[in-house]
Symmetry: C2
Subunit: 238 residues, 2 copies
């Protein structure tokens, strides 16, 4: 199964160099013209290879002086993007997305309680403090809410779980970005988060499971009211 296209061959070579660690984040690839000359191919082919890798999130391409193609930092954004796309294509409802979170987050919290180290717990506490400050200052605490679920996933030290959870959380944030919530709900959320953190700190995995389950079910029921009989689907991007 050889790569037919020239651009694909080039892209594979670079991708391999990245996954094997020969090229590291931040490193700069040759300018399109230079690599084309070096490989005896047209600039178009090199360009297409770079664009493909950029699409995968492996490269960051900047133009202008001191621009060029740089190996991108490792990020789960590409996964989120394609997952998001598939869910849109499948006309996935908000309820489905929330249901998935109800199923996945409690077990993740349980593992988090077993694995979290002092640094993880410090981060979680710091986050809740910021969240409380945001509520008092009438700011938007929603991004902290998202961050909380990310941090819990981080505690598991399991990359597949972290990536999947991050992607679902990102989608949830995006899907519910337009819904307004009252201050009482915000406080309620912080309370739940605090309880989950307490359980993690005590290494009480079952409590972490149960508290997270209550939390996501609480979110689920609130959203259920908002979307009652509405049957909306994820909107397409503008």
């Amino acid at each position: 199964m050889k790569a037919q296209r020239v651009s694909e061959t080039i892209a594979r070579r670079i991708q391999r160099a990245i996954t094997t660690g020969k090229l590291e984040p931040g490193e700069k690839l040759p300018a399109e013209r230079d690599l084309a000359k070096k490989l005896n191919v047209s600039r178009v082919s090199v360009r297409e290879a770079y664009r493909s890798l950029a699409e995968l999130g492996l490269l960051s391409v900047k133009r202008g002086a001191e621009g060029g193609a740089f190996i991108a930092d490792f990020d789960h954004e590409p996964v989120t993007r394609s997952l998001s796309l598939m869910l849109r294509l499948g006309r996935t409802s908000h309820e489905e997305l929330t249901e998935a979170r109800v199923l996945l987050e409690p077990p993740i919290a349980r593992l988090a309680a077993l694995r979290a180290n002092a640094e993880d717990i410090r981060r979680l506490e710091e986050l809740v403090e910021k969240q409380e400050a945001a509520i008092k200052g009438n700011g938007n605490p929603r991004r902290y809410d998202l961050q909380f679920h990310r941090l819990v996933a981080d505690c598991t030290k399991n990359l597949p779980l972290i990536i999947v959870m991050n992607s679902l959380a990102d989608l949830a944030l995006e899907a519910f970005a337009r819904i307004d919530i009252g201050t009482d709900v915000k406080r309620h959320t912080v309370d739940f988060h605090q309880k989950v953190i307490d359980a993690i700190r005590r290494r009480d995995s079952e409590a972490a499971y149960q508290e997270m389950l209550r939390h996501v079910r609480d979110v689920q029921s609130r959203l259920g009211k908002v979307f009652e009989r509405q049957r909306t689907v994820l909107q397409t991007r503008p």
Copy 2:
């Protein structure tokens, strides 16, 4: 946040047409030359747009007479691909991948027991029969093993869960493709599958949870022996 590049603008327009259903799978887009003329842009720009969408799995591009760019069927392959890539970049071990499955599959099996319809159960039973036949015929039953976990996820009727589970299963298959297993283990696997199906048929969600948990833990412990002290990571593609 306008799209700077011409090709990006075109790609967005097409993507939107696809996600909103204006373009359906199987439909053919104009030839590169034609669309370029129609939009008053160069063929290069149209081409780049098509390639980007193909990279996302939205288009399938064929060359030659009667070729062209066709709207692709929905498939979770792009998600699997980027997830796979991220895991490679993170040097994810087989153990981590298996651990994620141990955590996610039992809750999925539980929901599957609640949601499965007659057709789902028929498919599961049919699959196990094929699997048994493959063992008797000394064939390779591994792809049926993968398929089993997919079908269980399908029972949940929850697209996010289905996609995530499919991706993880694909990765697991790929990661363990080179490991040989004995006939006794194959039989063991079929037994586990049969028990899970029984639980689903009885709508016994807790039994489904427990049986699936035993199954994936069994797989986990077997793999633990194989990889003992080996600490291998996911290989990069050739």
